[in-house]
């Protein structure tokens, strides 16, 4: 039993921390963007990713033959936690899901075209799985891919493609074999985001940022840009989630919110009395801090299971996501309870406590218990795989 990083891991964590402090840039690192701070969606943030690439921090866990260092995934976890603690863009999508899938299943052309660009942060991806009829039921994608001469013609619609308005390439699941069972009829494609047949429509959200829906009209994709084997799309999507154990979503933004709240409570007053002396506030803070420690414990549990290299830590990951996202919302809720009426002042105004950080976060975190596998999906996974209960839907 050991709750500390190994000396080598700690050295890397210190190195990253030092580098991030030295390279602090408020334009790149904006905690008020909450979950959207992980995106490299502006020129400044893309430039920052290139600096990360120069540090050699992209693709650390990749095989050496593809430019990686073959080091343990836990270093990517350490990196991503540090990045998200500083509200900087994170690694994950390109290096993780797409890079690792291409390494395992991509043809030579795709490997050569994309892997070096991922390592040098020259390409940003959007991921298109969700559709109007494929939310939690992810395998129910209906985007139609018809075989045509030399490639495929795609027609239909994707939902919730967060990065569609700035990405260079689109990683898309589509139905190539409608007659097969739903899990076996999907394939993965790579499409340039500026394809004239794609129409990106912005969807404003209750948070500050927007997401997108994307319409496909006769989008031609050459054969070479079908990733892996036809009909293996869903299997590759699932496998990527298992492979990408360490960078799924980070705890730091939540523990940072708890820290920011505590710091504020220490200084704030109510009716000229220190707020930290109010019994109701003390109770709320005690429970928030305690539950944040439990979230950390569940994250430790998940990382240790991932490090063991055995079975994918599906159960640990589901428990972590379920607990942590629920807590994330509760921290925002109770932070506003502590601020009282001042909590209603919209984010970004000096008059609001902590410039409305929690007013904004209260809205922005709404989606955390939905995106990336809803709480209910996580509970189904835990019920069946951990507790061994029968299928319940």
């Amino acid at each position: 039993m050991d709750f500390d990083f190994s000396p080598e891991e700690q050295k890397f964590a210190d190195e990253v921390e030092e580098w991030l402090v030295a390279n602090h840039d408020p334009v790149v690192m904006d905690p008020t963007r909450e979950n959207f701070s992980q995106l490299a969606d502006t020129p400044e943030r893309r430039a920052f990713m290139k600096k990360l690439a120069k540090q050699g921090w992209l693709g650390m866990s990749w095989p050496k033959e593809y430019g990686g260092q073959e080091i343990e995934g836990v270093y990517e976890y350490i990196l991503n936690e540090a990045l998200s603690r500083h509200a900087a863009p994170q690694i994950g999508k390109g290096v993780g899901i797409i890079g690792k899938t291409l390494i395992r299943h991509g043809n030579e052309k795709l490997k050569q075209e994309f892997l070096p660009k991922i390592l040098s942060a020259e390409v940003e991806f959007a991921v298109g799985y969700s559709e109007p009829q494929a939310g939690s039921d992810a395998a129910n994608m209906q985007l139609k891919a018809e075989k045509v001469e030399g490639g495929w013609k795609l027609n239909g619609q994707k939902m919730w493609t967060t990065s569609a308005h700035f990405a260079d390439w689109y990683w898309v699941g589509a139905r190539t074999d409608p007659d097969k069972p739903k899990h076996d009829g999907l394939s993965l494609f790579l499409i340039p985001m500026d394809h004239p047949g794609l129409e990106v429509q912005s969807l404003p959200t209750v948070g500050k940022d927007t997401t997108n829906q994307v319409f496909f009209e006769d989008v031609f994709v050459p054969d070479d840009y079908l990733v892996g084997k036809r009909g293996q799309g869903f299997q590759m999507i699932s496998e990527a989630l298992d492979l990408e154990r360490f960078t799924m979503f980070t705890l730091s933004p939540i523990s940072e919110r708890t820290r920011v709240l505590v710091e504020w409570v220490k200084e704030a007053t109510r009716d000229d009395q220190p707020l930290r002396e109010a019994p109701d506030t003390r109770r709320l803070i005690a429970n928030i801090v305690t539950d944040t420690a439990v979230a950390k414990a569940l994250s430790t549990r998940f990382v240790c299971a991932a490090k063991s290299g055995g079975k994918p830590p599906t159960i640990q990951s589901s428990q972590y996501k379920l607990f942590t996202t629920t807590l994330s919302q509760r921290v925002c809720d109770e932070a506003l309870d502590i601020t009282g009426a001042a909590g209603t002042i919209r984010e970004g105004q000096d008059e609001a406590p902590i410039r409305g950080r929690f007013e904004g976060a209260y809205r922005a975190t709404m989606n955390e218990t939905v995106g990336g596998g809803s709480s209910e999906i996580q509970k189904n996974i835990i019920a069946r795989r951990h507790l061994g209960l029968p299928k319940n839907f």
Partner: protein, 372 residues
């Protein structure tokens, strides 16, 4: 980072589980409820021989000199088995007080016997209508020559009838004192008060009980400081016990949910119920890691001023909530004494209210977070 148990830790855990399964099946647990002694002699003897009682007592005092981590593993098993024993009051608190503040003579006299199980000691702390803090200790200790004369009332004194000595928290002009008192001494009377869990609890009335000054543990007025320090470590073990209880309660409930059918489906095939159990398992598994983290930090010599109350706060709330949920899944039968779910349900609430309750623990966490 690594959450695996060492071979020796795994051995301690397995051995404890085996021992409790053999000597403390659930019918023994039921039999001991409201029993004046409150624990089965054969179980206690076995625990002593296996070195479990003295887990935190150094080897040169007859114990096995383990860290809080090993002790937490034992307590998780005690929690699973619902084992009624004076381990906590004797092997953890009394032994801890003697180790922290006892004289050479007191340590030599009591620690080996505590470790073997031959002697049982129990603190007499709480008083009617008083709280968990230092101000709650008002039982009078009057100095008369070299003696202390104790008068007042204590409540929630566990296993007092079986105890060789009480460690009475009393208030003198100097502050709080810890005094070893023979429960059979003149002026001491014990009255069993039945508790929610059925554990052997006593009200202790002390009327002009004269004790030699040499029976004081620690310096005059040092009692509260010692008691707080020892209890702070101890509650990590209660947190482990709560996690063990919650885990076992969930386990029997999940098994039941696989076989009990309604509407031609097992209960576990209803999301409404399955999701309750998924939530509980998440809290239990997370709570266990938090408890281990607290114990591990203590074993590393780091402060657990925040970890310890967080661990008990979360674990006991989880135990309480999980057992209520379990009873809901069992349905009507959980309401009957015949079924075991209620055994966990009652103990969970009692644990949450004992040895620093929710409010006290919240305040301790808040103080560490906000006042430093």
């Amino acid at each position: 980072m690594d959450l695996d148990l060492s071979e020796e830790q795994q051995m301690i855990k397995d051995m404890t589980r085996g021992l409790l399964e053999e000597h403390c099946p659930v019918d023994v647990v039921r039999e001991m409820e409201d029993d004046p002694t409150g624990y089965p002699a054969p179980l206690w003897k076995q625990m002593g021989e296996a070195g479990l009682i003295g887990v935190l007592i150094p080897e040169d005092r007859g114990g096995s000199g383990q860290t809080l981590v090993e002790a937490a593993l034992i307590y998780e098993e005690i929690g699973r088995a619902l084992a009624p024993t004076p381990h906590f009051v004797s092997g953890v608190l009394s032994a801890g007080l003697l180790l922290e503040g006892g004289s050479e003579e007191q340590q030599a006299r009591w620690l080996p016997e505590i470790a073997s199980g031959q002697a049982v000691l129990t603190p007499a702390w709480l008083e009617p209508d008083r709280g968990f803090g230092e101000a709650g200790v008002q039982l009078a200790a009057k100095a008369e020559g070299d003696d202390l004369v104790l008068s007042g009332v204590k409540r929630h004194v566990n296993y007092a009838a079986a105890a060789d000595r009480l460690i009475v928290l009393a208030r003198s002009d100097e502050g709080v004192e810890l005094v070893l008192v023979d429960p059979r001494a003149e002026g001491v009377s014990l009255t069993q008060v039945r508790s929610q869990s059925g554990e052997a609890h006593y009200r202790v009335d002390l009327q002009d009980v004269r004790v030699a000054g040499s029976e004081r543990i620690g310096r005059p007025g040092q009692g509260w400081e010692l008691f707080e320090r020892v209890l702070q470590r101890g509650i990590v073990l209660l947190a482990a016990q709560a996690i063990g209880g919650a885990d076992r309660a969930l386990e029997i409930t999940v098994e039941y949910a696989k076989v009990r059918k309604q509407f031609d489906k097992p209960l576990g095939a209803f999301q409404a119920l399955a999701h309750y159990m998924s939530d509980a398992s998440t809290r239990i598994d997370g709570g266990r890691v938090l408890v281990h983290e607290a114990a591990w930090n203590d074993a590393q010599g780091r402060s657990i001023a925040r970890f310890a109350p967080m661990a008990k706060l979360f674990a006991c709330n989880t135990y309480k909530d999980a057992t209520r949920m379990c009873c809901q899944v069992w349905g009507g039968v959980a309401f009957t004494l015949e079924y075991d779910a209620q055994l966990f349900f009652r103990r969970a609430k009692e644990m949450q209210l004992s040895w620093w309750d929710t409010r006290t623990l919240e305040e301790r966490v808040a103080a560490d977070v906000l006042d430093r």
